[in-house]
Amino acid sequence: MDAAFLIESAVKVLIVLGFVLLGVPLIVWMERKVIGHMQDRIGPQRVGPFGLLQTIADGIKLFFKEDLIPGQADRVVFFLAPALSVITAFVALSVVPFGDKVTVFGRDVPLHVADVNVAILWVLGTTSMGVYGIVLGGWASNSKYPLLGGLRSSAQMISYELAQGISLVSVILMTGTLSLAGIVAQQEHMWFIVPQFFAFVIFLLCGIAETNRAPFDLPEAETELVAGFHTEYSSMKFALYFLAEYANMMVVSAVAISVFFGGWRGPFLPPVAWFLIKLSLFLFFFVWLRATFPRLRYDQLMAFGWKVLLPASLLNLAVTAIVVALTG
Protein backbone atom coordinates (compact mmCIF):
# COMPACT_ATOMS: atom_id res chain seq x y z
CA MET A 1 0.00 0.00 0.00
CA ASP A 2 2.07 2.91 -1.27
CA ALA A 3 1.53 6.62 -0.86
CA ALA A 4 0.36 7.14 -4.44
CA PHE A 5 -2.43 4.59 -3.95
CA LEU A 6 -3.59 6.34 -0.78
CA ILE A 7 -3.62 9.75 -2.47
CA GLU A 8 -5.43 8.32 -5.50
CA SER A 9 -8.10 6.72 -3.28
CA ALA A 10 -8.52 9.87 -1.21
CA VAL A 11 -9.02 11.99 -4.35
CA LYS A 12 -11.60 9.55 -5.71
CA VAL A 13 -13.47 9.50 -2.42
CA LEU A 14 -13.57 13.30 -2.41
CA ILE A 15 -14.79 13.38 -6.01
CA VAL A 16 -17.65 10.96 -5.29
CA LEU A 17 -18.61 12.82 -2.09
CA GLY A 18 -18.55 16.17 -3.86
CA PHE A 19 -20.52 14.76 -6.77
CA VAL A 20 -23.31 13.57 -4.49
CA LEU A 21 -23.35 16.75 -2.38
CA LEU A 22 -23.52 18.95 -5.48
CA GLY A 23 -25.79 16.57 -7.36
CA VAL A 24 -28.52 16.38 -4.75
CA PRO A 25 -29.46 20.11 -4.90
CA LEU A 26 -29.55 19.78 -8.68
CA ILE A 27 -31.88 16.77 -8.51
CA VAL A 28 -34.16 18.56 -6.06
CA TRP A 29 -34.25 21.57 -8.38
CA MET A 30 -35.01 19.30 -11.35
CA GLU A 31 -37.76 17.54 -9.39
CA ARG A 32 -39.48 20.80 -8.45
CA LYS A 33 -39.11 22.23 -11.95
CA VAL A 34 -40.32 19.07 -13.74
CA ILE A 35 -43.24 18.42 -11.39
CA GLY A 36 -44.11 22.11 -11.66
CA HIS A 37 -44.36 21.92 -15.43
CA MET A 38 -46.22 18.60 -15.31
CA GLN A 39 -48.82 20.26 -13.07
CA ASP A 40 -48.99 23.37 -15.29
CA ARG A 41 -47.03 25.56 -12.88
CA ILE A 42 -43.61 27.12 -13.49
CA GLY A 43 -41.71 25.83 -10.48
CA PRO A 44 -38.87 27.73 -8.79
CA GLN A 45 -37.56 30.67 -10.84
CA ARG A 46 -36.71 33.53 -8.49
CA VAL A 47 -33.30 32.58 -7.04
CA GLY A 48 -30.54 32.48 -9.63
CA PRO A 49 -30.94 31.67 -13.36
CA PHE A 50 -33.97 29.37 -13.89
CA GLY A 51 -34.29 29.16 -10.10
CA LEU A 52 -31.15 27.00 -10.00
CA LEU A 53 -30.02 28.38 -6.64
CA GLN A 54 -33.39 27.75 -4.97
CA THR A 55 -32.28 24.50 -3.30
CA ILE A 56 -29.01 26.10 -2.14
CA ALA A 57 -31.08 28.87 -0.54
CA ASP A 58 -33.34 26.27 1.07
CA GLY A 59 -30.29 24.45 2.39
CA ILE A 60 -28.92 27.63 3.95
CA LYS A 61 -32.33 28.31 5.47
CA LEU A 62 -32.36 24.82 7.04
CA PHE A 63 -28.90 25.47 8.49
CA PHE A 64 -30.14 28.48 10.44
CA LYS A 65 -33.44 27.02 11.61
CA GLU A 66 -33.91 26.12 15.23
CA ASP A 67 -32.94 22.52 15.95
CA LEU A 68 -35.78 21.05 17.98
CA ILE A 69 -35.32 17.85 19.98
CA PRO A 70 -38.44 16.37 21.61
CA GLY A 71 -38.24 16.31 25.41
CA GLN A 72 -38.81 12.55 25.66
CA ALA A 73 -36.51 11.65 22.78
CA ASP A 74 -33.57 9.29 23.10
CA ARG A 75 -30.97 11.98 22.38
CA VAL A 76 -28.03 9.84 21.23
CA VAL A 77 -30.07 7.66 18.88
CA PHE A 78 -31.97 10.76 17.70
CA PHE A 79 -28.63 12.21 16.56
CA LEU A 80 -27.32 8.92 15.21
CA ALA A 81 -30.30 8.01 12.99
CA PRO A 82 -30.07 10.69 10.25
CA ALA A 83 -26.28 10.30 10.15
CA LEU A 84 -26.67 6.54 9.58
CA SER A 85 -29.06 7.20 6.70
CA VAL A 86 -26.58 9.46 4.94
CA ILE A 87 -23.50 7.32 5.60
CA THR A 88 -25.02 4.12 4.22
CA ALA A 89 -26.13 5.91 1.05
CA PHE A 90 -22.66 7.37 0.45
CA VAL A 91 -20.80 4.16 1.24
CA ALA A 92 -22.86 2.19 -1.28
CA LEU A 93 -21.67 4.45 -4.11
CA SER A 94 -18.05 3.53 -3.45
CA VAL A 95 -18.22 0.36 -5.56
CA VAL A 96 -20.00 1.82 -8.60
CA PRO A 97 -17.73 2.25 -11.65
CA PHE A 98 -18.41 5.62 -13.30
CA GLY A 99 -15.91 5.43 -16.13
CA ASP A 100 -13.18 3.47 -17.92
CA LYS A 101 -9.54 3.52 -16.82
CA VAL A 102 -7.87 6.91 -17.26
CA THR A 103 -4.15 7.69 -17.11
CA VAL A 104 -3.19 10.42 -14.68
CA PHE A 105 0.54 11.28 -14.21
CA GLY A 106 1.48 7.95 -15.80
CA ARG A 107 -0.73 5.92 -13.46
CA ASP A 108 -3.65 3.80 -14.63
CA VAL A 109 -6.55 4.98 -12.52
CA PRO A 110 -9.76 2.92 -12.63
CA LEU A 111 -12.75 5.21 -12.15
CA HIS A 112 -14.37 3.69 -9.10
CA VAL A 113 -13.41 4.08 -5.47
CA ALA A 114 -13.01 0.36 -4.84
CA ASP A 115 -13.38 -2.73 -7.02
CA VAL A 116 -14.36 -5.35 -4.47
CA ASN A 117 -15.17 -8.84 -5.71
CA VAL A 118 -18.43 -8.82 -3.73
CA ALA A 119 -19.63 -5.38 -4.91
CA ILE A 120 -23.28 -6.32 -5.37
CA LEU A 121 -23.46 -7.87 -1.92
CA TRP A 122 -21.84 -4.72 -0.56
CA VAL A 123 -24.50 -2.50 -2.14
CA LEU A 124 -27.31 -4.75 -0.86
CA GLY A 125 -25.70 -4.85 2.58
CA THR A 126 -25.34 -1.09 2.91
CA THR A 127 -28.87 -0.42 1.67
CA SER A 128 -30.18 -2.92 4.21
CA MET A 129 -28.20 -1.02 6.87
CA GLY A 130 -30.02 2.09 5.67
CA VAL A 131 -33.19 0.70 7.25
CA TYR A 132 -31.67 1.49 10.66
CA GLY A 133 -31.60 5.22 9.94
CA ILE A 134 -35.35 5.29 9.39
CA VAL A 135 -36.41 2.81 12.09
CA LEU A 136 -34.22 4.41 14.73
CA GLY A 137 -35.31 7.91 13.74
CA GLY A 138 -38.91 6.86 14.23
CA TRP A 139 -38.20 5.13 17.53
CA ALA A 140 -35.91 7.77 19.05
CA SER A 141 -38.47 10.54 18.49
CA ASN A 142 -40.65 8.78 21.11
CA SER A 143 -43.79 9.87 19.35
CA LYS A 144 -46.68 7.96 17.77
CA TYR A 145 -46.59 8.87 14.09
CA PRO A 146 -42.82 8.60 13.67
CA LEU A 147 -42.85 5.14 15.29
CA LEU A 148 -45.62 3.96 12.95
CA GLY A 149 -43.76 5.42 9.97
CA GLY A 150 -40.52 3.77 11.02
CA LEU A 151 -42.15 0.36 11.47
CA ARG A 152 -43.90 0.61 8.12
CA SER A 153 -40.69 1.46 6.38
CA SER A 154 -38.71 -1.36 7.93
CA ALA A 155 -41.38 -3.88 6.94
CA GLN A 156 -41.51 -2.41 3.44
CA MET A 157 -37.76 -2.34 2.92
CA ILE A 158 -37.18 -5.88 4.23
CA SER A 159 -39.95 -7.23 1.98
CA TYR A 160 -38.69 -5.56 -1.17
CA GLU A 161 -35.01 -6.23 -0.48
CA LEU A 162 -35.69 -9.92 -1.01
CA ALA A 163 -37.10 -9.61 -4.51
CA GLN A 164 -34.43 -7.04 -5.38
CA GLY A 165 -31.62 -9.36 -4.35
CA ILE A 166 -33.09 -12.30 -6.26
CA SER A 167 -33.54 -10.22 -9.42
CA LEU A 168 -29.83 -9.36 -9.26
CA VAL A 169 -28.91 -13.03 -8.72
CA SER A 170 -30.20 -13.91 -12.19
CA VAL A 171 -27.72 -11.43 -13.71
CA ILE A 172 -24.95 -12.80 -11.49
CA LEU A 173 -25.78 -16.30 -12.82
CA MET A 174 -25.17 -15.07 -16.37
CA THR A 175 -21.94 -13.22 -15.62
CA GLY A 176 -20.40 -15.38 -12.94
CA THR A 177 -19.07 -12.36 -11.08
CA LEU A 178 -20.28 -10.21 -8.19
CA SER A 179 -18.07 -7.27 -9.11
CA LEU A 180 -19.87 -4.32 -10.69
CA ALA A 181 -16.78 -3.46 -12.74
CA GLY A 182 -16.74 -7.08 -13.96
CA ILE A 183 -20.43 -6.96 -14.89
CA VAL A 184 -19.93 -3.71 -16.83
CA ALA A 185 -16.95 -5.28 -18.60
CA GLN A 186 -19.16 -8.14 -19.87
CA GLN A 187 -21.74 -5.81 -21.43
CA GLU A 188 -19.52 -4.76 -24.32
CA HIS A 189 -21.76 -6.30 -27.00
CA MET A 190 -25.15 -6.39 -25.35
CA TRP A 191 -26.68 -4.59 -22.39
CA PHE A 192 -28.18 -7.01 -19.88
CA ILE A 193 -31.53 -5.22 -20.13
CA VAL A 194 -32.11 -7.32 -23.27
CA PRO A 195 -31.84 -10.87 -21.86
CA GLN A 196 -32.89 -9.85 -18.33
CA PHE A 197 -35.76 -7.45 -18.98
CA PHE A 198 -37.98 -8.92 -16.26
CA ALA A 199 -35.17 -8.83 -13.73
CA PHE A 200 -34.72 -5.15 -14.55
CA VAL A 201 -38.43 -4.37 -14.05
CA ILE A 202 -38.43 -6.18 -10.70
CA PHE A 203 -35.22 -4.47 -9.64
CA LEU A 204 -36.55 -1.03 -10.53
CA LEU A 205 -39.86 -1.52 -8.72
CA CYS A 206 -38.01 -2.74 -5.63
CA GLY A 207 -35.57 0.13 -5.93
CA ILE A 208 -38.40 2.64 -5.84
CA ALA A 209 -39.83 0.92 -2.77
CA GLU A 210 -36.38 0.83 -1.12
CA THR A 211 -35.86 4.54 -1.54
CA ASN A 212 -39.36 5.26 -0.18
CA ARG A 213 -40.29 7.26 -3.26
CA ALA A 214 -43.80 7.75 -4.62
CA PRO A 215 -45.91 5.69 -5.27
CA PHE A 216 -44.32 3.63 -2.46
CA ASP A 217 -43.72 6.53 -0.04
CA LEU A 218 -45.82 4.92 2.68
CA PRO A 219 -43.38 5.62 5.55
CA GLU A 220 -44.06 9.35 5.26
CA ALA A 221 -47.64 9.32 3.99
CA GLU A 222 -48.61 12.85 5.03
CA THR A 223 -52.35 12.30 4.93
CA GLU A 224 -52.23 9.62 7.61
CA LEU A 225 -48.87 9.87 9.40
CA VAL A 226 -48.14 13.65 9.42
CA ALA A 227 -44.65 13.16 7.94
CA GLY A 228 -43.81 9.64 9.08
CA PHE A 229 -40.42 8.89 10.60
CA HIS A 230 -39.07 12.45 10.28
CA THR A 231 -42.05 14.25 11.84
CA GLU A 232 -40.02 15.36 14.87
CA TYR A 233 -36.91 16.27 12.90
CA SER A 234 -36.07 19.85 12.05
CA SER A 235 -33.19 21.96 10.79
CA MET A 236 -30.06 20.13 9.56
CA LYS A 237 -31.17 16.72 10.83
CA PHE A 238 -34.18 16.95 8.55
CA ALA A 239 -31.88 18.10 5.77
CA LEU A 240 -29.75 14.98 6.29
CA TYR A 241 -32.78 12.71 5.79
CA PHE A 242 -33.62 14.70 2.69
CA LEU A 243 -30.05 14.28 1.43
CA ALA A 244 -30.11 10.55 2.16
CA GLU A 245 -33.32 10.02 0.16
CA TYR A 246 -31.87 11.63 -2.95
CA ALA A 247 -28.47 9.97 -2.49
CA ASN A 248 -30.30 6.63 -2.29
CA MET A 249 -32.05 7.42 -5.58
CA MET A 250 -28.58 7.92 -7.05
CA VAL A 251 -27.43 4.55 -5.64
CA VAL A 252 -30.38 2.64 -7.12
CA SER A 253 -29.96 4.41 -10.47
CA ALA A 254 -26.20 3.83 -10.54
CA VAL A 255 -26.58 0.11 -9.76
CA ALA A 256 -29.35 -0.27 -12.36
CA ILE A 257 -27.12 1.43 -14.95
CA SER A 258 -24.11 -0.73 -14.11
CA VAL A 259 -26.02 -4.02 -14.05
CA PHE A 260 -28.57 -3.56 -16.84
CA PHE A 261 -27.54 -0.60 -19.01
CA GLY A 262 -23.87 -1.21 -19.72
CA GLY A 263 -22.57 1.18 -17.07
CA TRP A 264 -20.39 3.87 -18.62
CA ARG A 265 -20.43 2.28 -22.08
CA GLY A 266 -21.69 4.24 -25.06
CA PRO A 267 -20.56 5.52 -28.47
CA PHE A 268 -18.77 8.82 -29.32
CA LEU A 269 -18.98 10.58 -25.96
CA PRO A 270 -16.45 9.93 -23.14
CA PRO A 271 -17.48 7.20 -20.64
CA VAL A 272 -18.10 9.56 -17.70
CA ALA A 273 -20.48 11.63 -19.88
CA TRP A 274 -22.46 8.49 -20.75
CA PHE A 275 -22.69 7.57 -17.10
CA LEU A 276 -24.01 11.02 -16.22
CA ILE A 277 -26.54 10.98 -19.08
CA LYS A 278 -27.92 7.61 -18.03
CA LEU A 279 -28.00 8.71 -14.39
CA SER A 280 -29.95 11.86 -15.27
CA LEU A 281 -32.48 9.86 -17.30
CA PHE A 282 -33.04 7.50 -14.38
CA LEU A 283 -33.48 10.35 -11.92
CA PHE A 284 -35.93 12.00 -14.32
CA PHE A 285 -37.87 8.73 -14.36
CA PHE A 286 -38.10 8.78 -10.56
CA VAL A 287 -39.51 12.32 -10.66
CA TRP A 288 -41.89 11.41 -13.48
CA LEU A 289 -43.28 8.52 -11.42
CA ARG A 290 -43.90 10.81 -8.47
CA ALA A 291 -45.90 13.22 -10.59
CA THR A 292 -47.91 10.40 -12.20
CA PHE A 293 -48.97 7.79 -9.65
CA PRO A 294 -51.06 8.09 -6.49
CA ARG A 295 -49.77 6.38 -3.35
CA LEU A 296 -50.58 2.70 -2.83
CA ARG A 297 -52.47 1.50 0.22
CA TYR A 298 -50.31 -0.29 2.79
CA ASP A 299 -51.86 -3.75 2.40
CA GLN A 300 -51.68 -3.40 -1.40
CA LEU A 301 -48.01 -2.58 -1.08
CA MET A 302 -47.18 -5.62 1.05
CA ALA A 303 -49.32 -7.94 -1.07
CA PHE A 304 -47.62 -6.66 -4.22
CA GLY A 305 -44.18 -7.25 -2.75
CA TRP A 306 -44.76 -10.75 -1.40
CA LYS A 307 -47.36 -12.17 -3.78
CA VAL A 308 -46.28 -10.65 -7.10
CA LEU A 309 -42.68 -9.46 -7.09
CA LEU A 310 -41.13 -12.27 -5.04
CA PRO A 311 -42.68 -15.16 -7.04
CA ALA A 312 -41.93 -13.31 -10.29
CA SER A 313 -38.28 -12.87 -9.34
CA LEU A 314 -38.00 -16.53 -8.30
CA LEU A 315 -39.55 -17.65 -11.59
CA ASN A 316 -37.16 -15.42 -13.51
CA LEU A 317 -34.24 -16.89 -11.55
CA ALA A 318 -35.38 -20.46 -12.29
CA VAL A 319 -35.72 -19.78 -16.01
CA THR A 320 -32.31 -18.08 -16.11
CA ALA A 321 -30.74 -20.99 -14.25
CA ILE A 322 -32.21 -23.53 -16.71
CA VAL A 323 -31.06 -21.51 -19.73
CA VAL A 324 -27.57 -21.03 -18.28
CA ALA A 325 -27.34 -24.75 -17.46
CA LEU A 326 -28.45 -25.78 -20.97
CA THR A 327 -26.25 -23.35 -22.92
CA GLY A 328 -23.48 -23.46 -20.30
Binding site: N117, S128, V135, L151, I158
Partner: protein, 170 residues
Protein backbone atom coordinates in the same frame (compact mmCIF):
# COMPACT_ATOMS: atom_id res chain seq x y z
CA UNK B 1 1.74 -2.38 9.42
CA UNK B 2 -1.55 -1.14 8.03
CA UNK B 3 -3.07 -4.51 8.76
CA UNK B 4 -1.98 -4.34 12.40
CA UNK B 5 -3.52 -0.88 12.81
CA UNK B 6 -6.80 -2.03 11.28
CA UNK B 7 -6.83 -5.19 13.38
CA UNK B 8 -6.33 -3.17 16.57
CA UNK B 9 -9.07 -0.76 15.52
CA UNK B 10 -11.62 -3.48 14.72
CA UNK B 11 -10.84 -5.63 17.75
CA UNK B 12 -10.99 -2.67 20.14
CA UNK B 13 -14.32 -1.54 18.72
CA UNK B 14 -15.66 -5.11 18.83
CA UNK B 15 -14.75 -5.48 22.50
CA UNK B 16 -16.06 -2.01 23.36
CA UNK B 17 -19.38 -2.66 21.61
CA UNK B 18 -19.67 -6.10 23.23
CA UNK B 19 -19.17 -4.58 26.69
CA UNK B 20 -21.75 -1.91 25.86
CA UNK B 21 -24.17 -4.61 24.75
CA UNK B 22 -23.84 -6.43 28.08
CA UNK B 23 -23.94 -3.41 30.38
CA UNK B 24 -26.55 -1.20 28.71
CA UNK B 25 -29.97 -1.14 30.39
CA UNK B 26 -32.02 -0.08 27.38
CA UNK B 27 -32.83 -3.06 25.12
CA UNK B 28 -32.68 -0.97 21.92
CA UNK B 29 -29.23 0.35 22.87
CA UNK B 30 -28.11 -3.25 23.50
CA UNK B 31 -29.32 -4.28 20.05
CA UNK B 32 -27.45 -1.36 18.47
CA UNK B 33 -24.26 -2.31 20.27
CA UNK B 34 -24.65 -5.84 18.94
CA UNK B 35 -24.86 -4.36 15.42
CA UNK B 36 -21.59 -2.58 16.21
CA UNK B 37 -19.99 -5.90 17.19
CA UNK B 38 -21.18 -7.53 13.95
CA UNK B 39 -19.80 -4.69 11.84
CA UNK B 40 -16.42 -4.84 13.61
CA UNK B 41 -16.28 -8.61 13.05
CA UNK B 42 -17.04 -8.12 9.36
CA UNK B 43 -14.01 -5.81 9.21
CA UNK B 44 -11.94 -8.63 10.75
CA UNK B 45 -13.21 -11.04 8.09
CA UNK B 46 -11.96 -8.69 5.37
CA UNK B 47 -8.53 -8.69 7.04
CA UNK B 48 -8.62 -12.51 6.87
CA UNK B 49 -9.26 -12.35 3.07
CA UNK B 50 -12.84 -13.56 3.56
CA UNK B 51 -14.66 -10.77 1.72
CA UNK B 52 -17.66 -12.94 0.95
CA UNK B 53 -18.22 -13.83 4.60
CA UNK B 54 -17.73 -10.16 5.53
CA UNK B 55 -20.41 -9.01 3.06
CA UNK B 56 -22.78 -11.78 4.16
CA UNK B 57 -22.19 -10.82 7.78
CA UNK B 58 -23.37 -7.27 7.05
CA UNK B 59 -26.18 -8.30 4.72
CA UNK B 60 -27.69 -11.12 6.76
CA UNK B 61 -26.81 -10.47 10.39
CA UNK B 62 -26.52 -6.70 10.67
CA UNK B 63 -28.95 -5.87 7.87
CA UNK B 64 -31.73 -8.42 8.25
CA UNK B 65 -31.67 -10.37 11.52
CA UNK B 66 -30.81 -7.42 13.76
CA UNK B 67 -33.45 -5.25 12.10
CA UNK B 68 -36.04 -7.88 13.02
CA UNK B 69 -34.64 -8.00 16.57
CA UNK B 70 -35.00 -4.25 16.80
CA UNK B 71 -38.49 -4.49 15.36
CA UNK B 72 -39.56 -6.88 18.10
CA UNK B 73 -37.87 -4.91 20.87
CA UNK B 74 -39.50 -1.69 19.69
CA UNK B 75 -42.96 -3.24 19.35
CA UNK B 76 -42.84 -4.88 22.78
CA UNK B 77 -41.59 -1.59 24.25
CA UNK B 78 -39.51 -3.33 26.91
CA UNK B 79 -39.15 -0.86 29.77
CA UNK B 80 -36.83 -2.72 32.11
CA UNK B 81 -35.97 -6.37 32.30
CA UNK B 82 -37.57 -8.48 35.00
CA UNK B 83 -34.80 -10.58 36.54
CA UNK B 84 -35.15 -14.31 35.97
CA UNK B 85 -33.00 -15.21 38.98
CA UNK B 86 -32.40 -13.61 42.34
CA UNK B 87 -29.22 -11.47 42.39
CA UNK B 88 -27.44 -13.98 44.63
CA UNK B 89 -28.09 -17.04 42.48
CA UNK B 90 -27.32 -15.04 39.31
CA UNK B 91 -23.91 -14.25 40.78
CA UNK B 92 -23.39 -17.93 41.61
CA UNK B 93 -24.28 -19.04 38.10
CA UNK B 94 -22.09 -16.30 36.64
CA UNK B 95 -19.03 -17.39 38.63
CA UNK B 96 -19.68 -21.04 37.80
CA UNK B 97 -19.84 -20.51 34.02
CA UNK B 98 -16.96 -18.02 34.05
CA UNK B 99 -14.85 -20.65 35.87
CA UNK B 100 -15.73 -23.32 33.27
CA UNK B 101 -14.85 -20.96 30.42
CA UNK B 102 -11.56 -20.08 32.14
CA UNK B 103 -10.62 -23.74 32.55
CA UNK B 104 -11.46 -24.45 28.90
CA UNK B 105 -9.32 -21.55 27.67
CA UNK B 106 -6.49 -22.57 29.98
CA UNK B 107 -6.72 -26.12 28.63
CA UNK B 108 -6.41 -24.91 25.05
CA UNK B 109 -3.45 -22.66 25.86
CA UNK B 110 -1.62 -25.33 27.85
CA UNK B 111 -2.30 -28.20 25.44
CA UNK B 112 -1.39 -26.38 22.19
CA UNK B 113 0.12 -22.94 22.43
CA UNK B 114 2.39 -23.52 25.42
CA UNK B 115 5.31 -25.04 23.50
CA UNK B 116 8.59 -23.14 23.30
CA UNK B 117 10.25 -21.89 20.12
CA UNK B 118 9.03 -20.63 16.79
CA UNK B 119 5.29 -20.46 16.05
CA UNK B 120 4.18 -22.66 13.18
CA UNK B 121 4.62 -20.90 9.81
CA UNK B 122 1.40 -19.52 8.32
CA UNK B 123 0.40 -21.71 5.35
CA UNK B 124 0.18 -19.83 2.04
CA UNK B 125 -3.39 -19.13 0.98
CA UNK B 126 -4.62 -20.86 -2.17
CA UNK B 127 -5.49 -18.50 -5.06
CA UNK B 128 -8.99 -16.97 -4.91
CA UNK B 129 -9.21 -17.85 -1.22
CA UNK B 130 -12.45 -16.53 0.26
CA UNK B 131 -13.97 -15.63 -3.11
CA UNK B 132 -17.65 -16.52 -3.61
CA UNK B 133 -16.80 -19.11 -6.30
CA UNK B 134 -14.35 -20.99 -4.07
CA UNK B 135 -16.75 -20.97 -1.12
CA UNK B 136 -19.53 -22.23 -3.37
CA UNK B 137 -17.37 -25.09 -4.63
CA UNK B 138 -16.40 -26.20 -1.12
CA UNK B 139 -19.97 -25.83 0.13
CA UNK B 140 -21.41 -28.03 -2.63
CA UNK B 141 -18.71 -30.72 -2.59
CA UNK B 142 -16.92 -31.29 0.73
CA UNK B 143 -19.59 -29.84 3.00
CA UNK B 144 -22.70 -30.75 1.01
CA UNK B 145 -24.26 -32.93 3.73
CA UNK B 146 -24.03 -30.40 6.61
CA UNK B 147 -25.21 -27.70 4.21
CA UNK B 148 -28.33 -29.62 3.24
CA UNK B 149 -29.02 -30.61 6.85
CA UNK B 150 -28.87 -26.92 7.81
CA UNK B 151 -31.31 -25.99 5.06
CA UNK B 152 -33.76 -28.67 6.25
CA UNK B 153 -33.39 -27.34 9.82
CA UNK B 154 -34.23 -23.83 8.66
CA UNK B 155 -37.18 -25.18 6.68
CA UNK B 156 -38.50 -26.89 9.83
CA UNK B 157 -38.15 -23.61 11.72
CA UNK B 158 -40.11 -21.72 9.06
CA UNK B 159 -42.91 -24.29 8.98
CA UNK B 160 -42.99 -24.36 12.77
CA UNK B 161 -43.27 -20.58 12.96
CA UNK B 162 -46.17 -20.56 10.51
CA UNK B 163 -47.98 -23.35 12.40
CA UNK B 164 -47.57 -21.57 15.73
CA UNK B 165 -48.71 -18.23 14.31
CA UNK B 166 -51.79 -19.78 12.71
CA UNK B 167 -52.91 -21.72 15.78
CA UNK B 168 -53.39 -18.57 17.83
CA UNK B 169 -56.11 -17.15 15.60
CA UNK B 170 -57.85 -20.38 14.60
Amino acid sequence: MGEAILFTLFSLSAVAFALGMVFRRNAVHCALHLVGVLLSLSGMFVLLHAQFIAAIQILVYAGAIMVLFLFVVMLLNVKGETPLLTPGSAKGFGFFFAFIAFVELLWIVVSQGGTEGEPAPVPALPPNFGSPAEIGKILYTTWLFPFEVTSILLMIAVVGAVVLAKRKFA
